[in-house]
């Protein structure tokens, strides 16, 4: 038994935000309320007024397995996740060995269970080998536990293929997750097209590449009745289309990642390859639009978009360097920067990191409800720390936030009632 005392209970799924206490028994939330009193034999944890919320649910993570173990392993990702207050992740299927077979879906689930600290909800490959040609066995993958379908960092290019995918996935009540970037416009690009890319002589990707695919896929969602989810949305134009589609009642949802509301394209100045991401960092007007969309509900969830990269992937001339940034350890802190900046209520921020992604993934995680597994994150919203590449928990160190001072740090993480970080 664990008895949390002197904590701010924050559970957006239940609309709960109040000082109180919480009791964990047999790995589950046994009770919570303003004053429970410590039962005999319970381990007491004095939160000192820190926030106790559900363990974070991160819906976009590359876990390195199977096949990319030199960049990340499930074990090292679990360490970084625990330090970031994350207890559930959805794993991308475009690993070196793509998750296009039911056995691989089961493998990833088991690999997560083996860590004892992290639930892995695997995405299934949308197409065989994530090659973007033929649909994968969506039904069999779904039976094996795939939570949704996507080709990961690869956009589904042909309209016919996307139509088929939305139509067929609907039969299995699964959404299709799109990397919204029109591939022929993005080909060879290394930065957002504009003045900065022009000055640096970098091949550009127009920001419109995002809205073009979003606009098309919204129409296909209308045509098919399927559910489409846009990952790491980064532009005002795409968000405007998504807002309209939601107003029209279509099955359209989206997420974004912290770099897109915290950084703009100037972060790539001096050829900083750690800030080379896909989609690329945008102009500041787009960054501001993303931040506003967190608040107004256009964006459904915030995901880390954790893309572990090796130094050899990044210590290259900018255009040749791999894109992607490590994000597990900084997910909460960078999102809280929006709260401290006054742009986002704390409860909304936590909803974007817990209940909202859990709902999208059809997962029961992300709540403090009585009887729910005690996946918990205890964080001090005011504690200050600095992001330092080389000193991050876990293996991947390719953070685009290197040097950034953050306010808000996880002090403890529990998985099914067992402490997996802090203390």
């Amino acid at each position: 038994m664990i008895f949390f005392h002197n904590v701010r209970l924050l559970d957006p799924a239940a609309g709960l935000d109040q000082p109180g206490e919480l009791l964990v028994r047999d790995g589950r939330v046994a009770d919570l309320g303003p004053a429970l009193g410590r039962p005999d034999g319970a381990e007491k944890i004095d939160g000192g007024g820190a926030v106790l919320c559900p363990g974070l649910v991160d819906m976009r993570v590359e876990v390195g397995e199977p096949g990319g173990e030199w960049r990340e392993t499930v074990a090292s990702a679990a360490i970084a996740a625990a330090a970031g207050g994350i207890t559930t992740v959805a794993a991308l299927p475009d690993s070196p060995l793509p998750i296009d077979d039911p056995a691989l879906v089961r493998l990833l689930r088991v690999r997560g269970e083996e860590t004892g600290s992290l639930t892995i909800l695997p995405y299934g490959a949308l197409t065989k080998g994530c090659r973007g040609i033929d649909l994968a066995e969506l039904g069999l993958l779904r039976e094996a536990g795939a939570v949704a379908f996507t080709d990961g960092a690869r956009a589904v290019g042909p309209a016919r293929l996307m139509r088929l995918a939305l139509t067929y996935a609907r039969r299995f009540e699964a959404m299709v997750i799109q990397h919204p970037e029109e591939p022929t416009l993005a080909e060879g690009g290394a930065a957002t097209e504009g003045e900065l890319a022009t000055r640096l002589g970098l091949p550009g990707i127009p920001a419109e590449a995002e809205a073009i695919l979003v606009g098309r896929d919204i129409r296909l969602a209308r045509l098919t009745g399927g559910a489409v989810h846009f990952a790491h949305v980064s532009t005002a134009a795409a968000l405007a289309l998504i807002r309209q589609a939601k107003d029209a009642g279509l099955h359209v949802t989206c997420d974004t990642a912290p770099p897109y509301f915290d950084l703009n394209e100037t972060a790539i100045g001096d050829w900083r390859t750690f800030a080379k991401l896909s989609p690329p960092l945008r102009a500041d007007a787009d960054r501001q639009a993303v931040a506003a969309a967190l608040r107004d509900g256009t964006i459904d969830a915030v995901a880390s978009d954790h893309q572990p990269r090796d130094p050899d992937d990044k210590r290259l001339p900018f255009a040749q360097a791999a894109s992607g940034g490590a994000g597990l350890a900084t997910l909460l802190g960078v999102t809280l920067a929006q709260v401290h900046g006054g742009a986002l209520p704390l409860a909304r921020a936590i909803e974007l990191l817990t209940a909202a992604p859990a709902r999208l993934l059809g997962s029961a995680a992300g709540t403090l409800a009585k009887g729910a597994p005690a996946d918990l994150c205890l964080f001090d919203p005011e504690r200050i720390w600095q992001v330092v590449s080389g000193a991050l928990p876990g293996h991947a160190q390719n953070t685009p936030f290197d040097g950034r001072a953050l306010e808000g740090k996880v002090v403890g993480t529990w998985k099914a009632g067992r402490r997996v970080f802090g203390g």
Binding site: E195, A197, P203, D270, P317, F318, Q320
Partner: protein, 310 residues
């Protein structure tokens, strides 16, 4: 006064008096080159390596001559671009060169920013001899020297840079240099070969040669690579020449004293007509090559004695 300069990676952000200092020193080397009395003790005992990841005969030769005329020990290294892991080669090469205690490293690379990456990893002074579509600083300096000697200065001139600006590192370095020195820069080319938000660089953009060249003091042509046609950016060479190739009719829109420049190598009949390229009254293309050696001598000399080096 700006701090001593260790590398020459880009023109962008360079302090105008420093640009002028490079040009003034280069000017003195022009005369010494012509008389054959170059100061061969200036770089005696220093090692300069030409590290070219992209094929180039003229730029490499120009740097080699410049180094030798100042007495440096010059070594040429050509690294094949066909090797699978270009990037690893770059860092590995840097490590190797560091161990050799080279003083001056002249780098050409197909990727923008590659010399800047090398500069972080080696102790030598790094000179950018062209990186991707980013910059080619010594080309801009030699162009400026050529113009200055012919027209007496750079302030107040109108310079039209014409052609494939999108892929041109020569254009970028010239835009930054000429703007810093008070020239008005125009970019002229097809819309498919114009970089995004080019006007934000402080230039005026034209898509018509007659308008873009009107009254210009300098017409600077850029090379059009065959690859632009195969990738569909330009429908054909003949169409390109019709609208953007510099011939006498188009040149007639420029000022009567206008200079014709080209960084070479030229595609005759694509971006420039032979009658213009070879016109001794208008074309300064051969002179540009001569100025190239003088400018590179000035760069090698100044970086070697800047205080950032021994």
């Amino acid at each position: 006064m700006a701090p001593p300069q260790k590398h020459l990676l880009a023109i962008e952000g360079m302090y105008p008096p420093r640009i002028a200092a490079f040009l003034d020193l280069a000017e003195s080397f022009v005369l010494l080159n012509r008389t054959g009395k170059t100061p061969r003790d200036r770089l005696r005992g220093r090692t300069m390596i030409n590290l070219f990841f992209e094929d180039s005969t003229r730029t490499r030769t120009s740097f080699e001559l410049a180094g030798k005329r100042l007495g440096a020990d010059v070594i040429n290294m050509s690294v094949s671009t066909s090797s699978v892991n270009k990037g690893e080669t770059l860092i590995d090469t840097a490590t190797t060169l560091n161990a050799m205690h080279c003083d001056l490293l002249v780098v050409r690379h197909a990727a923008s920013g590659a010399p800047a990456l090398l500069a972080q990893k080696v102790e030598a002074s790094v000179i950018n001899a062209g990186d991707g579509t980013h910059e080619h600083p010594t080309q801009a300096l030699l162009d400026a020297l050529t113009i200055r000697r012919r027209l007496g200065g750079l302030q107040g001139l109108t310079v039209a840079i014409c052609g494939d600006v999108l892929h041109s590192r020569v254009a970028r370095s010239n835009i930054f240099l000429l703007s810093a020195m008070g020239s008005q820069v125009r970019l002229v080319g097809p819309p498919t070969l114009m970089p995004a938000q080019a006007e934000r660089l402080g230039v005026t953009v034209f898509h018509d040669m007659a308008a873009g060249l009107a009254g210009a003091d300098v017409v600077m042509m850029l090379r059009l690579q065959q690859e632009r046609m195969t990738r569909g950016l330009v429908p054909s060479a003949r169409e390109y020449f019709r609208f953007y190739g510099l011939d006498e009719a188009k040149l007639a829109h420029a000022a009567p004293h206008a200079l014709v420049m080209h960084p070479g190598p030229m595609n005759r009949g694509v971006e420039i007509a032979s009658s213009v390229a070879d016109d001794p009254l208008r074309s300064v293309i051969r002179e540009q090559v001569e100025m190239g050696v003088a400018v590179r001598m000035a760069v090698l000399d100044m970086l070697s004695h800047s205080g950032a080096n021994r």
